[in-house]
């Protein structure tokens, strides 16, 4: 069967209901009997329906558009009133503000409680130089409390910081801790034997905390030789050691033993020793039972009781060897013989106390 113009005409008329009764019967019979006819016819009917549906829809939309125009005309004001569109910032700024203030509080809180890492370490490791002013103030307070009407005479020679130092050669060279003399304007040394002498810093090694001083007027000291030697070997664990120093205005003896062969934070150039030490002991000599120098007192650990640290004598020798030659007008001649090896402790101390000086540091 050919699906041509007459067929579509018929289908159309059937859909519109304009065909005759005979045609209608013929169409319905064909629909029932001929599947191919039926398929074609249905396809065409669907298409026509879509087409007319499209027409209706277009009409409806046109009507709605006019309605919309009307609506807009009627109440333009209410419908098109500018509405604040919530932007992202406006929507979230309260939350952002809260988050920012929380961050601010926690950051400042952390900073206040911890300050900085460096300062916290300083708290654990205390350098043993003496801040004279501070101590004098507390002494004043104690005195005032006790009773006294007697006016304190301010010591015009009191330095800003006080440490300990000791002679390492007959030419007037002394060793002390770098942190005692750092930033110094002038340095004076003082002990019972030689009185008060001016000294100059000739070399500093901040890495190992050692400074070398030289007495300006060497004629004031007349020493033929020094009675000890500087130990080239490391002290053994448990070895008896003692020190002399100026934690107060008189020389103080302290003894103990080598507790560990490394210093603060495993520093291999220092010992841990069980010698009681106080501010002012810094730079003092650490001596073994023969009276030989094994180290220089440098500091203590604050959170551990009885943990004092001393720089090893080997580090001192290295520093001396590393001194630039032109920074000295005379080479350092180190003591070579120990005359007090077999003497008793008391005799050793009697010889040594002449060589140990209070180091007074002045600065603005």
């Amino acid at each position: 069967m050919e699906f041509e113009q007459p067929f579509f005409d018929l289908t159309e008329r059937y859909v519109r209901g304009t065909c005759s009764e005979q045609e209608k019967q013929h169409f319905e019979a064909s629909m029932a009997n001929d599947p191919e006819f039926r398929k074609k016819a249905e396809e065409h009917m669907t298409f026509l329906k879509t087409l007319s549906g499209y027409g209706r829809r277009r009409e409806t939309r046109r009507v709605l558009d006019t309605l919309h125009e009307e609506l807009l005309r009627d109440n333009t004001a209410t419908l098109t009133a500018p509405r604040p569109r919530p932007t992202l910032i406006r929507k979230y700024w309260p939350m952002a503000a809260v988050a920012a203030s929380v961050a601010l509080i926690s950051i400042t809180g952390t900073l206040i409680t911890t300050r900085s890492l460096e300062e916290r370490q300083k708290v654990y490791y205390q350098e043993l130089r003496r801040n004279v002013e501070q101590i004098q103030k507390s002494q004043h307070r104690i005195m005032a409390n006790i009773a006294s009407s007697a006016k304190e005479e301010a010591d015009p020679y009191a330095g800003r910081y006080v440490g300990t130092g000791f002679l390492i050669s007959t030419q007037g060279y002394l060793a002390t801790s770098y942190h005692v003399v750092k930033d110094a304007d002038s340095v004076y040394i003082e002990n019972e034997q030689f009185g008060r002498l001016k000294a100059k810093i000739v070399h500093s090694d901040p890495a190992v905390d050692i400074s070398i001083l030289r007495i300006v007027d060497t004629t004031r000291i007349a020493l033929r030789s020094l009675p000890y030697t500087i130990s080239k070997t490391e002290a053994d664990l448990g070895e008896d050691v003692f020190t002399l120093g100026y934690p107060r205005n008189d020389i103080v003896f302290g003894e103990g033993s080598v507790s560990a062969s490394t210093g603060y934070l495993q520093n291999p150039k220092a010992y841990q020793i069980s010698v009681p030490a106080n501010p002012g002991n810094s730079g003092g000599p650490l001596l073994d039972h023969k009276g030989n120098l094994v180290g220089i007192i440098s500091g203590m650990q604050t959170e551990t009781a009885g943990a004092t640290f001393a720089i090893k004598s080997g580090a001192l020798l290295e520093t001396l060897a590393g001194m630039p030659v032109d920074s000295l007008n005379r080479p350092v001649l180190l003591p070579r013989r120990n005359y007090i090896r077999n003497a008793g402790r008391i005799q050793q101390i009697k010889r040594w106390r002449e060589l140990v000086f209070m180091v007074k540091v002045y600065k603005n």
Binding site: S52, G53, R58, T60, R61, L67, H68, E70
Partner: protein
């Protein structure tokens, strides 16, 4: 059911334009507000709202239609779904559209809306691509229900059979374009 709703539906079934206008005016501010507060613009609101109204309008014409909720609720639900779908297509909305309002039973209708919409859009593009005078002949005959005689006179054919012949050819072309999914835009 609400008296007003019932009245509207009855009147719309009678093709009453006044009822349609009332319906249109009553619910537009609500939909406009919803779409403006959900990152939409006024033209978009108008589009969505008209789609929903047309869907409602055509649905009401069907004899088996029973409204299970208030008209306002129905319109709102349909608009919401249509708008979410548009947002989804614009990649502005990443949630699941299917959630919410299962009691309204508008799922089927929404499917209908979309399917019809697609079919009608294909018809529109086909008609647009047909060219003159075919388009005008077909529109006059099928959409505006002009008679063959009127068409013959309007387009200057010598007799009705010629006009019919031309109309037939045009219809065949349109049909071919429509079924092959002809779309000059893509």
């Amino acid at each position: 059911m609400h008296y007003f709703d019932e009245l509207i539906i009855t009147e719309i079934r009678k093709n009453n334009t006044v009822a349609l206008r009332e319906l249109y005016k009553t619910h537009y501010p609500m939909v406009l507000n919803m779409i403006l507060t959900n990152s939409g613009t006024e033209p978009e609101a108008r589009d969505v709202y008209q789609d929903a109204i047309i869907a409602f309008y055509e649905r009401v014409q069907q004899p088996d239609f029973v409204l299970t909720c208030k008209v306002k609720t129905y319109i709102y639900a349909v608009c919401r779904r249509l708008w979410l779908k548009r947002l989804y297509e614009k990649k502005r909305y990443v949630g699941k559209i299917e959630e919410g309002d299962p009691f309204l039973q508008i799922e089927e209708e929404l499917l209908d809306i979309e399917e019809t919409e697609q079919r009608l859009r294909a018809m529109h593009t086909s008609l647009e691509g047909l060219g003159e005078p075919c388009r005008s002949i077909l529109e006059d005959f099928y959409l505006n229900n002009h008679s063959m005689e009127e068409i013959r006179d309007k387009f200057g054919y010598t007799n009705t059979d010629n006009a019919k012949n031309q109309k037939y050819k045009c219809l065949q072309r349109l049909k071919k374009m429509f079924f092959s999914g002809y779309n000059p835009l893509t």
